[in-house]
């Protein structure tokens, strides 16, 4: 098939210099969204050649009168059901704008599709049938536009031909919807009477609506402003990933707000670590000079090796986001099962994810109802305010301070089930150490490793009390030292006598105990020493935290001596006391020890001597690159 392309004439201004505005058309089912879209495409001369004729022919073949909405109903399923089931994106032009039109379904069944469409929009057209007036889905969509942060809303009152173009009817609907939207803090940019089927009010003010003096739909669209990147706000660079494809260690992410440039002092939240941006990396030309603003996907390198992970937020010192384990959010809920107090969820805030628990539910309402009754659970397609407790601290902003980072989504069973705005965050327990500037060592890591013949590492011995951790730790320490290395023993109990003397044995205190051990051990490892940690560390999550902190330096050894053997040994008499009820929170006689699932090494000390166990550890440290192989290989090559 050969198609004729219109011969070229002088070029119009190219598409990239005209502001592009993304519009969503929402409203109750059957109030005429698809018809309006079809009409808009026709009025702005945007239809591909032959499309209208093809659809008219299809209609004739099926024995149906032609409808403008057929233009969008390209899917067989839609024609069968007579409803638009998903968002479609169509492009056309007004005088000064390139419009990307997202047609979102009005059927309540497809609210998730309406949200998918509307979340991408800079502005919205809310359509209302003049005969039917404001309906539940009209109100619901208005509410969701507010929750999705769409601030520019034009209202069109469609099917004016069905009410004889009555100015009174128009005013009644206009007043009702304006009051509803104003109540949500949304001010309509225009309320326009139209007949999408006949064309009145779409591109022209016809005689039939002679009493109306405002803009047509096309004029209203032409006045919409595209979304501006949020460069004026504080810097927020959520970390998507750390790349080590070559000798660079690149921290990659998209700047959600603010801007950055090489040389900036930054703080990495939620940990609050401080660094300086060394370079801004790019490709094919790198590094790039100049300030990088909101909206850019960037990669940066830092002036020091810090542990950073996906989900951290990079900010400027002094304007960092708040670290929190608890927040309040206004959300919409899309899942079949209502959201209730106590539910366990996965919360995503940018690339950061955390398990979470719903602590309280306030104001659960159906936004479609006129008089909203409050419930204890948030039903499907309803909205509400909830308090969430997070198992990992996250750094976030209230949405009033930052609309990009102040929002979250909720996942259930790996599928997005809701989303909403962060209303407030509880202040974190930790003050942000904005004026701390760590001093770098005068020695390079390779200077130390050349002397010690090993790299820095954290050797973490976990296991039941009396399983033999401390004995093994001491044997390993002696052996490494004899070979010229620099081992340092960090015993859990020893540190509890000093550094951690403020901590007890609650789950929270135990976590903090492990975090401190891991931080100290990691500091030693970064300076070339082998930190040998002997600590029961019963919680898998706490050990995962330790591994995150120590990163690639972490070597976990599970001292898996059978519980019966441990209790029989009982050198400190703890098992005996615990059995007598004199020692609360003792790990060993309960079932609260969570075994490692992927330890680098597992050792049962009831089956081998201390020396044999130390051999195994040494071997593991060799194969995993901590200890350097002896120099015999070199000698053999001479």
């Amino acid at each position: 098939m050969n198609m004729i392309v219109t011969p070229t004439s002088p070029a119009t201004p190219n598409g990239t210099t005209r502001p592009q505005v993304r519009i969503v058309i929402v409203g109750h089912v059957d109030h005429g969204k698809s018809t309006l879209v079809g009409r808009l495409l026709h009025e702005t001369g945007s239809l591909p050649d032959g499309k209208l004729e093809m659809l008219k022919a299809v209609s004739a073949r099926r024995g149906m009168p032609f409808e403008w909405s057929f233009l969008l109903d390209a899917l067989q399923t839609e024609r069968d059901q007579g409803i638009t089931i998903d968002t479609t994106q169509i492009r056309f032009r007004t005088n000064s704008r390139d419009i990307v039109l997202i047609d979102a379904p009005g059927h309540a069944e497809f609210l998730r599709n309406m949200i998918t469409g509307a979340s991408q929009a800079d502005g919205a057209v809310l359509i209302i049938d003049a005969l039917e007036g404001v309906r539940d889905q009209t109100r619901r969509h208005g509410y969701l536009l507010h929750l999705l942060g769409v601030k520019q809303v034009a209202v069109v009152v469609n099917k004016m031909d069905r009410v004889d173009f009555s100015a009174d009817r128009f005013k009644a609907i206009s007043d009702e919807i304006s009051a509803h939207l104003n109540g949500l803090g949304v001010k309509p940019t225009a309320v326009i009477p139209i007949s999408a089927r006949d064309g009145d009010g779409v591109a022209e003010r016809t005689d039939r609506i002679g009493w109306y003096e405002g803009p047509t739909v096309v004029e209203a669209l032409d006045r919409l402003e595209p979304a501006r990147p949020l460069e004026a706000l504080a810097l927020r660079l959520p970390v998507q990933a750390i790349y080590k494809f070559d000798d660079r260690r690149i921290v990659a992410g998209r700047i959600e707000s603010g801007s950055l440039v090489a040389g900036d002092e930054i703080v990495i939240m939620p940990a609050g670590k401080i660094a300086k941006i060394k370079t801004v990396e790019s490709w094919p030309v790198t590094p790039v000079a100049g300030r990088q603003g909101a909206g850019r996907s960037v990669g940066i390198t830092l002036d020091r090796e810090l542990f950073i992970e996906r989900g951290d937020i990079i900010a400027h010192a002094g304007t960092a986001p708040r670290e929190t384990r608890r927040l309040r959010a206004r959300i919409f809920w899309l899942h079949d099962k209502p959201l209730a107090k106590g539910d366990q969820l996965l919360v995503r805030c940018g690339p950061k994810e955390s398990r979470a628990t719903v602590v309280a539910i306030e104001k659960a309402v159906d936004p479609g109802e006129l008089s909203s009754s409050e419930n204890k659970a948030i039903g499907r397609n309803h909205v509400g305010e909830i308090d969430i407790s997070l198992s990992n601290p996250i750094a976030t902003d209230p949405y009033t301070e930052n609309p990009r980072t102040g929002r979250l989504v909720i996942e259930v069973s790996g599928r997005i089930a809701g989303g909403g705005l962060v209303l407030s965050v509880d202040a974190g327990q930790r003050a942000v150490p904005v004026d701390i500037v760590p001093v770098e060592s005068a020695l390079r890591p390779d200077e130390r490793s050349a002397r010690y013949q090993h790299n820095g590492a954290v050797v973490w011995l976990t296991g039941l009390p009396a399983s033999g951790k401390s004995t093994l730790a001491k044997a390993l320490e002696r052996r490494l030292f004899t070979n010229g290395g620099s081992p340092i023993l960090l015993d859990g109990d020893t540190l509890r006598a000093g550094l951690n003397s403020d901590l007890g044995f609650t789950a929270t205190d135990r976590s903090e105990n492990i975090r401190r051990l891991a931080e100290v051990a990691t500091h030693l490892a970064r300076n070339g020493h082998i930190a040998i940690v002997a600590a029961v560390s019963p919680a898998r999550e706490d050990r995962a935290t330790a591994r995150r902190i120590a990163d690639t330096a972490f070597r976990e050894i599970h001292v898996a001596t059978p519980a019966g053997v441990c209790e029989e040994r009982d050198p400190k008499g703890h098992y005996k006391k615990a059995r007598a009820g004199a020692l609360a929170s003792f790990t060993g006689i309960g079932n609260d020890y969570e075994k490692p699932e992927a330890a680098e090494l597992v050792i049962d000390t009831s089956k081998r001597t201390v020396a044999e166990a130390a051999d195994e550890i040494e071997q593991m440290l060799k194969t995993t690159g901590v200890l350097f192989d002896e120099l015999v290989d070199l000698a053999a090559n001479i």
Partner: protein, 264 residues
């Protein structure tokens, strides 16, 4: 930031999300203008080299210029190129019209490649402006166990949060340039100086707007012999991009049937 900068930044964000959240991904390289832009964007996202394979599901019926392009740039761009053949035409649903049946071969080839490598994510260069059914796509689009697309039950996707947990054995399609237009692709290709197959430029009054298999793709009348001229032509034309693709026009729903079955 201009329009192209914004498109680029968004695509890079999507690439990095896919790489971070999925275990084993590959990019579907059809050798056309769109997938070449995708490879370029992936190299930008990962600072020079695409860290996952480029998969070419080969019908064996592409133009000679396309094969030359593949072999040359596969090496120059240091791609981990995997070429996978399609099954013979007899193995494909005989109730489909001829061109659709031919295209469905590719779907079968894709399924075989999926089974062979066990990818949980395939990056595809479809765009919303190409075709009405593609407009309904998500950026992260789940496929069923048979590779099929359930248009009626797509998960919500908003604020650049993507559903990245396909059920065991199923996979995701990832669409990093879903928000681009044909004109965007050409403007970006020119700005970044990305190589193209010469068939896109006019020779003897005709050029290809979209490149598929030789037997089911036709050139359009055009005098555009440079990217600048293509951009001017696109400003004027009302002919759809896939007009030269025979399979789109056989029956009203041929394309949708293909997509539901797992076609791109």
């Amino acid at each position: 930031m201009d329009h192209l900068d914004q498109l680029e930044a968004q695509s890079i964000y999507i690439f990095r999300e896919a790489f971070a959240r999925l275990k084993k991904i590959a990019l579907l390289w059809s050798l056309g203008k769109d997938s070449n832009v995708m490879i370029w964007l992936a190299r930008k996202a990962f600072f020079g080299r695409m860290p996952f394979p480029a998969l070419h599901v080969d019908t064996g019926k592409k133009f000679a210029e396309m094969y030359r392009f593949r072999d040359h740039y596969g090496k120059e761009w240091d791609l981990d190129l995997r070429v996978e053949p399609c099954p013979p035409i007899d193995a494909v649903d005989p109730t489909l019209p001829p061109a659709a049946r031919s295209a469905a071969r590719k779907t079968e080839g894709l399924k075989m490649a999926l089974g062979k490598y066990g990818f949980d994510g395939l990056i595809a260069g479809i765009r919303r402006d190409e075709e009405a059914t593609r407009a309904k796509e998500r950026v992260f689009s789940p496929r069923g166990l048979e590779g099929n697309w359930d248009v009626r039950d797509q998960p919500p996707e908003f604020w650049d949060h993507f559903n990245a947990s396909p059920p065991q054995g199923a996979h995701l399609r990832i669409h990093p340039i879903l928000h681009w237009t044909e004109a965007d692709i050409w403007a970006y290709t020119k700005r970044e100086n990305i190589p193209i197959i010469p068939l896109y430029l006019s020779q003897n009054g005709k050029r290809y707007r979209s490149l598929g298999d030789q037997d089911i793709t036709n050139p359009v009348h055009s005098t555009a012999s440079s990217i600048d001229e293509i951009l001017i032509e696109l400003e004027q034309t009302k002919v759809p991009e896939r007009a030269g693709r025979a399979l789109d026009h056989e029956t009203e729903d041929a394309f949708e049937r293909l997509r539901v079955a797992g076609y791109l």
